[in-house]
């Protein structure tokens, strides 16, 4: 655990729960290797999931729907999203 109240795996578990809820899937169907496309999350679903992530972790995610690849926030898989959030949470504390 870090001093933030969010450990690494803790963050990933929460992200998986948020994404599973958005995709209307069981938590067990979402793995770190899952892509959003595989999970059936479209652009609106992604924006909603990011909103839920920001609210959960009290962070601001630098995501612009017009240039998803250009932002520092890697949305290629559930694992990459979790890693990016871990960074943002760490920055918030630093």
């Amino acid at each position: 655990m870090t001093g933030t109240g969010h450990g690494m795996s803790d963050i990933q578990d929460k992200v998986i729960r948020i994404i599973a809820e958005q995709a209307l899937l069981d938590v067990s169907d979402v793995t770190p290797g899952s892509t959003l496309e595989e999970l059936g999350i479209d652009s609106l679903g992604l924006v909603e999931a990011i909103f839920a992530i920001e609210e959960t972790f009290d962070i601001s995610v630098p995501f612009n729907a017009n240039e998803p690849a250009a932002t520092r926030f890697d949305i290629s898989t559930v694992g990459s999203i979790s890693a990016a959030i871990e960074d943002l949470v760490a920055q918030r504390v630093a």
Partner: protein
């Protein structure tokens, strides 16, 4: 069917407080998008907008009027006065019963909602000003315009998000064309540049933090604007009989619904609206010299719009010009089609095509002549104005030189 012509135009927007100033800015390719000057800006992640600066309502309206007029109504009345003055019309006699108002706005008196929510939620007061409802209602601008000019025929307000003004002007066109009315004031207005109005848009994550760059590969979203434009649509023989100056003829209009997605645009819906406007105006595609694009500067709109234009026009798509003036005045949401119709009138009358400014890198998915960065002299006889709204509601107008 009657012919319908435009005999007056008026506007206020981020570029200027009147039509001549707006035309000058279009010709110069000037950007009206600036740092925002609004309350609680520090809590917004979006800090820019096409805001109307140096707006002093006290010089235009008395105190009693200001207590009744939200900013979107103030903008409408200013634009309406300019348009009616240019037309030279007087609505004192029988004409008042054959004239009305159809305006577009997406959200009406947003500043009034915002100010009064602050009063009751933030400041904890339990009383608001008595005129909150008549000030914020979406039809307030249309009603005040009818009162200002004694227009007693059909009047109403259309709300179709970013296509509101085009839908409104389409209705006005139909009413004059069918003989229902002789004259209509039409166009639209929006004034959403306040804390709540911008915060709502931030949520969608489609806004640019630095500039509106339609069709450019490095575009990164839309920029909100505010303001209004109002036009006088008049039956052709009526205008001729009084020797009015005719700015342009409205010849076609079409509307379609995508029936697919609440925010994502749809190429088929857009194509059907463009093709429908051509059909309605009995126009051949190759007559069209210029299209004022919806061109929001979002990734999704611009490539979909270019694909729709390529589909409808075939090889002629590479010969026509298409530009987005949102790069200069921002996206006026429900008022945007009205301000953009000015670029169509300028193209027909002055032979000057307003540019798409902020254009930096070619996008292979937007490979049309977007009149990058610099206005161009070109003779055009037929122009289109596109509007494709959230909710998948599309409205396209066709204008011809007279």
């Amino acid at each position: 069917m009657k012919r319908v012509v435009i005999t007056g135009s008026g506007t206020i927007n981020a570029l200027a407080h009147d039509v001549p100033g707006t035309f000058e800015a279009f010709r110069e390719g000037r950007c009206g998008i600036t740092e925002l000057d609004i309350r609680d800006k520090d809590r917004l992640s979006i800090q820019i907008g096409g805001q109307v600066h140096d707006w002093d309502p006290e010089t235009r309206f008395n105190r009693q009027q200001i207590s009744l007029f939200d900013k979107f109504t103030q903008f409408t009345l200013l634009a309406g006065r300019e348009a009616v003055a240019q037309s030279g019309l007087n609505f004192d006699g029988r004409l008042s019963y054959e004239a009305g108002v159809v305006l577009g706005t997406a959200a009406g008196g947003v500043n009034t909602w915002d100010d009064n929510y602050r009063t009751v939620y933030e400041e904890g007061k339990n009383r608001v000003h008595p005129f909150v409802v008549p000030k914020l209602m979406n039809n307030a601008a249309a009603s005040h315009l009818s009162m200002e000019f004694n227009l007693k025929g059909p009047s109403f307000t259309v709300a179709t998000a970013c296509a509101s003004s085009n839908h409104a002007m389409g209705q006005a066109f139909h009413m004059v064309r069918s003989g229902m009315t002789q004259v209509m004031l039409t166009g639209g207005s929006e004034s959403m540049l306040c804390f709540g109005g911008i915060k709502a848009w931030e949520g969608l994550r489609v806004m640019s933090r630095d500039a509106c760059r339609p069709f450019s590969l490095n575009r990164n979203g839309m920029v909100q604007g505010e303001g209004a434009a109002v036009f006088v649509f008049e039956e052709y023989d009526h205008a001729r009989a009084r020797r009015a100056e005719i700015l342009a003829e409205v010849v076609g209009f079409a509307m379609t619904s995508d029936a697919s997605d609440i925010v994502m645009p749809n190429k088929q819906g857009a194509s059907r609206a463009i093709a429908g406007a051509l059909r309605d105006g009995r126009l051949n595609g190759d007559e069209v010299g210029y299209i004022n694009a919806h061109g929001t500067g979002t990734a999704a709109n611009d490539k979909t719009e270019c694909a729709a234009v390529a589909d409808v026009f075939g090889p002629h798509a590479d010969r026509l010009m298409i530009s987005s003036t949102k790069s200069m005045h921002g996206h006026l949401i429900g008022g945007t089609g009205a301000v953009e119709l000015l670029a169509c009138i300028m193209a027909l009358r002055d032979g000057v095509i307003a540019p798409t400014i902020g254009y930096e890198e070619a996008d292979p998915e937007c490979a049309l002549d977007v009149v990058p960065n610099t206005a161009r002299d070109a003779k055009v006889d037929v122009v289109l104005s596109n509007a494709f709204a959230f909710g998948g509601l599309n409205a396209v107008l066709a204008l011809r030189k007279v």
